[in-house]
Symmetry: C2
DNA sequence: GCACGATCTTGTACGATGTCTAAAAAATTG
DNA sequence: CAATTTTTTAGACATCGTACAAGATCGTGC
């Protein structure tokens, strides 16, 4: 398990303390933290990390493929260190988003879309979690 | 073809002039206009329709299923009067969004998602339009 | 270690999008 | 017309994100 610092270096990014703490948090989180989540956390841990630096760093990480930028239902923008593709489930009541393993769903008919060069396909499933008692 | 007024009444919405002009524009547009697009247009047509009313009306229309709220790539929020389900293609270079007929794709494995009551499934295809000359 | 230029961080101002509120305006009811 | 409800309005406010200019920090050559 490489250190955060090593990961950054491997991607040609100078591993400053601010960048390390941002990447660390995104990688540690099994949720999908928003930029504000990240800022709040990082700011708490190291009193003076500015908002601008958090945004700069997130862009940097996204550009280098270390982190993915997601647009959740409702338009919330979140970040995710899991780079391998996966689908999303959105609870229509709470807005909560949950990952669905990429292998769990298969999409047929993509080859027939002759007008497009397809890079990536993602399914968004809307519904409600069964464990929830009625609303 | 029912009038905008009739459509609103059918859904229990009092057809005020402001609401009519908003719905009319969304229905007439074959693009996916954003709230600001709609505000700009509607404001031009009837000098005094406020921003708040445009937003209020859009929420109302969404709540009554007359219009759908979309979140495009990049997090842009747009509206769409086509209520029948369809998928989306997003051009990764331009951010342009295009509809894909619902029937064009089939998703397998949804039944196996036993943790969820699934309401709706939507596929988002990312790529680039083939007709585009390289860039 | 020091000076220098390059890179990084910071605070703040700004812009875009959207919500909230209190009051005016319009419609409905009697 | 008066009373009540619904709708609209303007503008203040909140949130998210970007731009910019100044200061801090780093790496390199000496």
């Amino acid at each position: 398990m490489p250190t955060t610092s090593a990961i950054l270096k491997d991607h040609g990014i100078r591993p400053t303390p601010q960048r390390r703490v941002v990447l660390e948090y995104v990688r540690a989180s099994d949720q999908h933290p928003t930029a504000e989540d990240i800022y709040a956390h990082v700011h708490r841990r190291r009193a003076s990390v500015s908002r601008a630096t958090v945004y700069n760093t997130l862009h940097l990480l996204v550009d280098h493929g270390l982190v993915r930028r997601l647009v959740l239902a409702g338009g919330t923008v979140a970040f995710d260190a899991r780079v391998h593709p996966h689908h999303h489930f959105v609870d229509e009541r709470t807005g909560e988003v949950q990952d669905i393993p990429f292998e769990a769903l298969r999409i047929e008919g993509v080859e027939a879309l002759s007008a497009f060069d397809v890079e990536h396909v993602q399914v968004v499933v809307y519904g409600r979690k069964k464990s929830d008692k009625g609303g």
